[in-house]
């Protein structure tokens, strides 16, 4: 039987990054998906082995533009794991604070993109509007809206000035109010619910088989979260919940991320409170790193970031392995996209919050109706939402 292959890529029209999804369709039903990566292979591991540990922090920070503190954090965890290097208490709270602020802005970014994918542009405008104050918080604390350069082996580079804390708490209150508004509007919207409920289901067993991580795994009932499973920094000292849902569909992935944003706000508030009382240094002087092997990981907004470092006692790694969460989450689309209508494929692919620069393409569809491009898939997805909207609202 002849099959049509819809190429999404090598440049994704909405996420604007390079990755090639070949969607196999039979009529309107997706029968399989094939992913090509390698379009953005930049050789970070190879370069890192030629740089010192401190230089590598800036290098790995540039692996991803969104979760730009997750990679440095996992990397310093790995180096610290080689030699059991301790960090000061104040540095632990600052690391956790930066990591959780990043989760808030990353989840808001995804929420906006998800809304845009299905033609719900109000959600997109809201989410991105209220992401902006988070980036401003970053600018206040670190001097940069992104690529903060905060992590160091043995602590952090910059302190959070005490006078910065009260305005940050006020901004956080505002973000929480707005998030509550967005969450309620999204939960109450019958169109959104019927558009996402039961779409692109990843079963619990498939999540285990594909070794899925992060919100993708947690929406399928796998209770894995590095922050709880191996608490580093201040994660063992703050109170928060692991958000786990059971259905594995796009709707549950959305709910996991929304609820996690509230948990992150909770953690940030606790860290800011603690920073009023916990004083002391922010960086332990690390003169040298012994020979050995170390594994560092961190729960990035998309899931577990993994770094492995092998050292020989010099100031640079002998071997540095990086594994971003999307690398294991993207193959799960093979399972979640099978059998779904083509109009749902784009949102299902987007639901794992793929980070292409971490891993590394939408496609040209050639069928009897002529040549269709990836932008048509977007149109297809939006038309479905519009149909549902008419059905619901009359």
């Amino acid at each position: 039987m002849s099959q049509t292959v819809i190429p999404v890529g090598p440049f994704h029209p909405l996420l604007e990054e390079a990755e090639f999804f070949k969607i196999h369709v039979d009529g309107e039903t997706v029968t399989g998906i094939d992913t090509d990566i390698g379009y953005m292979h930049r050789g970070h591991e190879f370069i890192s082995e030629r740089k010192t540990f401190t230089q590598s922090i800036f290098l790995v920070e540039r692996i991803c533009g969104i979760c730009s503190t997750s990679h440095p954090l996992a990397f310093v965890h790995a180096v610290e794991d080689v030699d059991n290097i301790e960090i000061p208490d104040r540095a632990a709270y600052i690391r956790t604070l930066i990591g959780e602020l990043e989760r808030i802005h990353s989840h808001l970014l995804w929420l906006g993109l998800a809304g845009h994918f299905i033609g719900y542009d109000t959600l997109w405008m809201w989410a991105w509007k209220y992401r902006e104050p988070v980036l401003e918080i970053f600018e206040t604390i670190t001097g940069n809206r992104n690529h903060y350069g905060m992590m160091r082996v043995g602590g952090v580079a910059r302190d959070v000035p005490p006078e910065a804390v009260p305005p940050l708490l006020e901004t956080l209150d505002m973000i929480e109010r707005k998030m509550t508004m967005i969450a309620k509007a999204a939960a109450d919207d019958p169109v959104l619910r019927s558009r996402l409920k039961g779409v692109g289901v990843l079963s619990r067993q498939a999540a285990i088989d594909y070794c899925a991580v992060g919100p993708t795994a947690r929406a399928s009932g796998l209770a894995i979260d590095v922050r709880k499973d191996e608490p580093k920094d201040a994660y063992g000292l703050v109170d928060f919940n692991k958000i786990v849902l059971e259905n594995g569909d796009v709707y549950d992935k959305l709910v996991v991320r929304v609820l996690e944003t509230f948990e992150s706000i909770k953690i940030v508030r606790q860290c800011l409170e603690k920073l009023r009382s916990v004083t002391g240094p922010i960086l332990n002087d690390v003169k040298e790193v012994a020979a050995g092997e170390g594994i560092g990981r961190y729960e990035a907004p998309r899931g577990e970031v993994f770094h492995y470092v092998r050292t020989d006692g010099s100031n640079r790694p002998l071997r540095h392995k990086v594994r971003a969460p999307s690398y294991v989450n993207i193959p799960t689309c093979e399972a979640s996209c099978k059998g779904i209508p083509l109009a749902d494929a784009l949102i299902t692919l987007a639901a794992i919050d793929p980070c292409y620069c971490c891993t590394e393409r939408a496609v040209r569809l050639v069928d009897k109706q002529g040549v269709r491009v990836a932008a048509d898939l977007l149109q297809l997805s939006r038309e479905k939402t519009e149909r549902l909207r008419r059905d619901v609202h009359g």
Partner: protein, 143 residues
Amino acid sequence: MAEKDNVLDGLESKIGRTVAKTGRVFFEVADENLSEVVRQLFFAKGCRLSTATATETHRGLEVLYHFSHDATGRYYCPRVVMTDRDQPRMRSIAPIVKGAEWIEREMAELFGITFEGHPRPERLLTKDHPKPPDRPLRLRRTP
């Protein structure tokens, strides 16, 4: 020293040189014993494969699989050493752990390792490349 646990119980005869520290166990495994070790870690003990690392060392090429035991936050890392530098080959674990498919394809491409029994032995990074590289790019030596 590593805490005492039962994840590796029953595998004592299959495990070679071991380096253990808090929360991390790195141990050598012969190629023929790898499947059994992986089955115990993945199916019996519920470990999750984070990824695998291939390294070029003075002994040859080695592949280190990183299994995360999420219930305890520990890592169990079986290491397979291949001394044949010209024709490095080992058994694939992808038929047991589906999540190992991509990383084994990547290691095969970048380090020239043949993974026997891999369900889809294709290139991962330069599959449709107009001019694919003529040698494994991460190797310092030319095979």
